[in-house]
Symmetry: C2
């Protein structure tokens, strides 16, 4: 909780090619490492270390956005389970890991952190398509309520 | 999402000596392994695989209970960061890991899953005291709003 906004990497603007959506209090960003296909971050725009340090209105809105992203990833990637994590030991700025998990993934059923892996980076066209697909599904779900 | 309630270990009643509190839609249970002091689970009483499969009212209440437990653990254990995780790959029944983390803990700043560890089990008196301390702090915080 000692990180100041000026030195906080999550207070900086997101990389444009990874930005999935701007959703009020949060941005949605694709994890550059797509070892787990669809893996996104939901990042609070303001600086706060813990979700429960926010007002109830804000923390509820943040969580609703996390769930919206999870539902979009569920629709697109048909995971066997969704993993949701707020850690922030290295970057104490509220951000949620939203990770679709499959029985066929290399680390199943263990947590994603249980073994190191080589990052999977998409080429520019595949990255653009994936970001666009997730964005479109979020928009579709948000419109249908 | 294929686990049926009859075979789901988290649909079974909690071990009485680990039960911290019964809070409406959820129970709070101390993790028997106290390698990370204060580590609790917040377990949904009904069977559901994902928090976002619940109604907005229910999923908001569940998250408010997770935050209440986190605040109690923050007050008691003064962590450097709180880790909140909904995984469920092995037991697909909504349960949140609420884990106080310290710069001095063996795995800091990595996630708790990054290396195996020998479980730390408290003796009966210490377990009872820890469960009681967390329960009292939850009650105190809930009463103060």
């Amino acid at each position: 909780m000692s990180t100041t906004p000026s030195s906080c990497p999550l207070c900086a603007p997101p990389r444009p090619d990874l930005l999935v959506a701007d959703l009020g209090l949060v941005t949605v960003r694709l994890n550059e490492d797509q070892f787990f296909p669809g893996y996104c971050f939901v990042v609070l725009k303001q600086h706060a270390a813990e979700p429960y340090h926010l007002t109830i209105t804000d923390r509820t809105e943040v969580m609703e956005k996390v769930y919206l992203v999870a539902r979009a990833l569920e629709a697109l990637f048909t995971p066997d389970k969704m993993n949701l994590e707020s850690l922030g030991n290295m970057v104490p700025h509220v951000h949620w890991h939203v990770v679709p998990r499959h029985r066929t993934d290399a680390l199943w059923p263990r947590p994603i952190w249980s073994e190191p892996h080589e990052p999977v980076k998409l080429d520019a066209a595949s990255l653009e398509r994936r970001v666009g697909d997730i964005r479109n599904e979020i928009v579709r779900l948000a419109a249908s309520g």
